[in-house]
Symmetry: C2
Subunit: 338 residues, 2 copies
């Protein structure tokens, strides 16, 4: 089950809003449909957005009347969501290729994502203790990357290696990516998973003997500060309180080398009705004011390690992440040798 694929003349995707109730395959054949799928979280997860948007640029090239219209379309796709840096990274990369080569580049990005996810899973799996309860957050599986997944890919790889992890999955309000998507993907992978309310994160670490936490990322600053789904900071703080290591797993493309710290990461605020309603049912009085940030920023002092396709970065992150900035050419050279 691939969550994103090229469909001949459109980009195909699994509509994640309908999971786990229905497995609906859809296609975006116009730029409007590409932008709408990203904006409404039909496609979500920072790396999956990058892959999907790259295919979206191929759609734009096929449907645009000319270069001006094409450039405007690419700008619209790049602005569909503000926090995930992978989206901007994919747009930058696509902008550098010659007209007509967009699809080939998108297919290359997707193939690289598969390779990157495999490497993240292998490096990350070494961090998980045998037979441990491992807390994750939100959804970071194949649905989130369009390939093998990041943090969830690590847990699935640890299971494949016989380490018998048991996943603890907070539901992740308001949009319930943990309840809807992570439990669905873990069941498919045969990994035992226990669903909890988000408020139960701290207590569960203690009562179910959680040994480590591993989450994904939407943007990582040079110093290791990490933007991820709202609620991640609470997991990190509770892990520190209980002296449990808290890890981030994300591709290098998630790192924004232009940001010295997390202070300046833009945080998307979403529709109040995501919190005020639930499946069409009002959960609070009409008009109740809501604060609904989609992400929070976990300071790097709470992060024990950041797993990328190049290995595990450890503090001090200014050094270990700085070192990563020079690495991609090395990986490409290595890949070329295989």
């Amino acid at each position: 089950m691939e969550p994103v694929w090229w469909d001949g003349d459109a980009v195909g995707y699994i509509d994640q809003r309908r999971l786990p109730g229905s497995l609906v395959r859809a296609r975006a054949a116009t730029v409007d449909e590409v932008v709408e799928a990203i904006r409404t979280l039909a496609v979500r997860g920072a790396p999956a957005i990058g892959v999907f948007a790259a295919y979206g640029v191929a759609v734009a090239r096929r449907t645009a009347g000319g270069d001006d219209e094409f450039r405007a379309a690419v700008a619209r796709i790049g602005a569909a969501r503000p926090t995930a840096v992978n989206l901007r990274w994919a747009m930058d990369r696509l902008s550098g290729v010659e007209a007509g080569a967009e699809l080939a580049e998108a297919l290359a990005i997707h193939e690289e994502q598969r390779d990157v996810d495999r490497r993240i899973a292998e490096h990350g799996a070494t961090l998980l203790p045998e037979g441990a309860a491992v807390m994750t957050y939100c959804n970071t599986g194949p649905l989130a990357t369009g390939a093998g997944g990041t943090a969830l890919g690590v847990i699935i790889e640890a299971a494949r290696l016989g380490k018998k992890p048991r996943a603890i999955v907070p539901e992740t309000r308001p949009l319930l990516q943990g309840a809807r998507l992570t439990t669905f993907e873990l069941a498919g992978a045969g990994v035992p998973a226990t669903l909890i309310a988000d408020g139960a994160v701290a207590w569960t670490m203690r009562t179910l003997g959680v040994r480590c936490a591993i989450v994904g990322a939407d943007r990582i600053a040079r110093n290791g500060d990490t933007a991820n789904k709202i609620g991640t900071l609470a997991v990190a703080i509770a892990a520190a309180h209980h002296r449990i290591p808290f890890y981030v797993a994300a591709p290098r493309s998630t790192i924004d080398f232009s940001l010295s710290s997390g202070e300046r990461i833009p945080i998307e605020e979403r529709d109040p009705d995501e919190v005020r309603r639930f499946g069409g049912v009002a959960t609070a009085p009409d008009g109740t004011p809501v604060y609904n940030p989609a992400f929070d920023v976990t300071p790097s002092c709470l992060i024990a390690g950041i797993v990328t396709e190049f290995g595990v970065c450890r503090p001090p992150y200014d050094e270990s992440i700085g070192d990563l900035e020079t690495r991609p050419s090395k990986l490409l050279a290595e890949l070329a040798k295989r």
Copy 2:
């Protein structure tokens, strides 16, 4: 709007499961109905359960065929929920009165609750800074006590005194007491309130400049360890991380002087479908394993003060709470003088 009242020959109550959509008044005229209302959280909040259960004993006296049936009924009411110590406290107190005097004792307990809540509100309001964002959790207003409320009563009293608090209200999954009840009560009291997802607790403390947190309690041990709605521990840990004082407000009847610490507080586990479903809609695949504790225990080292009707207990709690054990007779003497 009283949430619990004596209705001639039954105990009347507002069905809190239907709020805020519908304001439904119901009555429990049999012991079965009393137990069911407590068990299903139609009546909830530790002090309100105590008041309601006291009236329930009056119902039991009227409907029981004899003393054996009456005692069995009282035992069933006392076992309707395991964590709230007020329920046990009310049953103990009712057991000590002579046959036929149960209703008078229940009315006295209710009147005392009103007085206790007034005093908690007055003592607690001194702790809140002027114009501050104050985080609370779950619901601790009049609906939760059958009188003025505990933590929410403190915030409402601070507003009445012109301190202009702004309440930050986590929705409190799985049963959404924050979204459904606290926002409803604060709107009624004219106190500005902002609803957030539970996962946003830590990030909101930082971004909205929260200055303190105040919550209720379902049971407090002698050393100050406090059982309260699942998610409270996460608020306390996040408050400690952000150096924000975290307070508990609860009547003395919430303190279990027989417990030296929170280790032995029984924690109710509730139906997995509370987490797996939402308003009748599945949010996770069928059969997903769930861990659904109704409460957690916040260690006293994270608590800056415990507000009771006698004032604010400060650490070390072994001393300040120990001192409370001898106090009730003093309060009763004082009340008698008025």
